[in-house]
Symmetry: C2
Subunit: 131 residues, 2 copies
Amino acid sequence: MKLDHVGIAVPNLAAAIEQWRPLVGPPESPPEEVPSNRVRVAFVAVGETHIELLEPADETSPVARFLESRGPGVHHLAFSVPRVDTALAEVRARGLRVVDERARPGARGRRVGFAHPSAFGGVLVEFVEGP
Amino acid sequence: MKLDHVGIAVPNLAAAIEQWRPLVGPPESPPEEVPSNRVRVAFVAVGETHIELLEPADETSPVARFLESRGPGVHHLAFSVPRVDTALAEVRARGLRVVDERARPGARGRRVGFAHPSAFGGVLVEFVEGP
């Protein structure tokens, strides 16, 4: 089990990259659009994990709604798992809620799926397929 | 630069340990009181980083106030640095606010210090001295 990344909701991606740069350095690749979540993201490597800065692509993005209700801050924790579908099924088998019943395309060409925040005490948990 | 841990505010430490166990396994050591923050904490190793579950020790704890205003969820991100005092001074030198002007005793016998959430776009950042 590895923490793949910490997702942070930000109102402005370029400004957030500059804000974090003195602490964690520059993003490892150019910003990327993730249509399935209506966000634009940048990943910064921090040891074996990453910080993912998430800017809403439009006002219908879940991240736009998060920013409105909670303000900027940590949005989710992403754990890498061998199979996202299996991880989601395990959450459901424990009687807990998921956002996604099956894996879908996420950032960096990876398959991803979200549990519901109620499954992990208010923390939105993402599963990311891969090493 | 390494992400030492992700701090998660929880109303009940024992319940939170059981909630996270299926995903990340058991804590690496028994729960510990941290008098300087009026919290009781448990660390769970996740690869090279950790999840720190934080339960308020009493209603005056900063974590009790966090739970009241935001509900359970991610409370802070902690980065390991060679010298906490230097890391705090660097934040102040950029004209940004800190919670602690100098390092103080934290969990696991480590020296720690917090920047102000405004310094990192709404994210409460802790510096932890050590590898």
